[in-house]
Symmetry: C2
Subunit: 313 residues, 2 copies
């Protein structure tokens, strides 16, 4: 069985035929043209997909086409309600695709697609209940319950990055104050790093930032590793923020596993070990309540395409 | 179809045969003896249930026996892992029942049972995804996803009262600081009311407390209604705390509906109207994201028995 999985990003769109074993076949791609309206982009994408299917002689093998799209998606209706990144407003993606291609088409949020990919074929494949948290520009999330993606009413559920962990705290892009995202995203970590750097001119963070050519999410971790106490403070606070958000997820879902993805997750054990210690020390009802494993995502950038295709598996 | 539904409380246990239409037949009950160990209590209860079934001539009609029990419950194993209220520690309820009665026995947390009752036969019966929040001594919760109770790993999920809304805030009974429960339970409202009363000797709250013979959850609402500004401040803060916790639930699950139960929920429109206004003003992505309805529970004390029986419907 083969489905097409398409991952729409802020600057480029990538798609591929994906087998029901999660294997990615030949990839196709197109850029996202800034300022282009969504209808035009989707029409181009549908035509490109049609060409790809013809060129790869897949006409009779395709069971459907799945798309992961950033923004709020009304998956039952097949409409992108709104995408802040793409500036899309009520784009009827499924209808537009079906004007060009006769296959079933399903859409979901990009974080949901990536989660489904990891849950079915990556880090989460041995678990029935798993949550994926993506630590990037924001804090993305996807929820798998009994092996199925949980999307909520009109596909608008599982915005775990926009749950408040500190009422009245930092202003979030969503309008509320104190969201998990405003403390645990890479953006938040970088802001905290910069704040500490401007306060401590003698910190090793300056050296690592210079080596990297910018202040990225890695700087505080690298400097802390090298023994810098100011960087250690930044990292400790970040672990605490992330830990509190993950504890909330544990107490809400008590999943078997939380999968971390995104740039910050690349810190691996430097992140996961202190995080697991924090979770264990604060786990609700522990030891009578099972621990929640924290593991790294495995599929990298493929998770979105694989998960979008997996909407049909 | 008939199942026995049993609701174990802190001071008494009530059970009844319940039809698959949610109708409660004759009720039986026994007191909870303080200090008695769990094994003894469950043995007594199983024998009482056996007598009840014989007396009501239900031997051939019963499809199973369900119990809702306060505490952390390992429902797949049929064991009460720990109940703080009852001082029970690893009580194998299902096994103990089956020593006396030959029917299938299932157990769940009391909040889960009440939620299932409301979801199947009460306020939530028209909805597939619904969350119930009980505002009592603590903040209890139950989660219904696609018509089914969501229990999490080892039945330890959906402790929404123990998600932090204010990091570093009020100490919660669970050990963390800033839990939803520490701000939105009846206990928290009463503490806030008492604090305001001791600060404002001229507040109408004193009059209402005297009339009621105690400072209960109603006092601030009644005094606010009568125009007392200090009481209004207590109520406004309570709405804000409760609102933030409910917004987190909306962004996590985007259910169709949140059902409120417990003493405070009896405030009805005085609570629900300002709460809905708060949710609408702060709803993620609204108006592109559907509103979540807030409604009152309908079944009162029967919800626990009905829901426990509904574990078999």
């Amino acid at each position: 069985m083969i489905a097409i999985g398409i991952d729409i990003g802020g600057t480029s769109i990538k798609g591929a035929a994906v087998t029901s074993e999660g294997k990615v076949l030949k990839v196709f791609s197109m850029p996202v043209t800034k300022g282009e309206d969504g209808v035009t982009t989707i029409k181009k994408l549908a035509n490109l997909t049609k060409e790809y299917i013809a060129k790869e002689h897949l006409e009779n093998d395709i069971v459907g086409i799945g798309l992961g799209i950033p923004g709020t998606i009304d998956s039952p209706s097949g409409v992108v309600t709104y995408s802040n990144n793409l500036r899309w407003d009520f784009i009827p993606v499924v209808k537009l695709f079906n004007d060009v291609l006769p296959y079933p088409v399903r859409i979901t949020n990009d974080a949901n697609a990536a989660t489904l990919g990891e849950a079915k074929f990556g880090a989460g494949k041995e678990y029935q209940n798993c949550i994926m948290i993506t630590l990037g520009t924001g804090v993305g999330s996807g929820v798998i319950i009994e092996g199925k993606l949980y999307e909520g009413n009109e596909g608008k559920g599982s915005e775990l990055g926009h749950t408040v962990i500190k009422m009245g705290g930092r202003r979030c892009t969503c309008g509320r104050k104190g969201c998990f995202e405003a403390y645990a995203s890479a953006t938040a970590l970088i802001k905290d790093t910069k704040r500490a750097m401007s306060k401590h001119k003698d910190s090793l963070m300056h050296k690592f930032a210079q080596e990297e050519g910018r202040v990225g999410g890695r700087v505080a971790f690298a400097a802390a590793q090298a023994g810098d106490k100011y960087a250690q403070e930044v990292v400790n606070n970040y672990i605490k923020y992330l830990g509190e958000g993950l504890l909330n997820i544990c107490n809400t879902f008590r999943p078997e596993v939380i999968v971390l993805s995104g740039g910050i997750a690349n810190q691996g054990e430097k992140l996961i070990k202190p995080l697991e210690e924090y979770l264990e020390a604060n786990n609700y009802g522990y030891p009578r309540t099972p621990k929640v494993k924290i593991i790294n995502a495995k599929l990298g950038y493929d998770s979105g395409k694989i998960g979008a295709a997996a909407l049909f598996f």
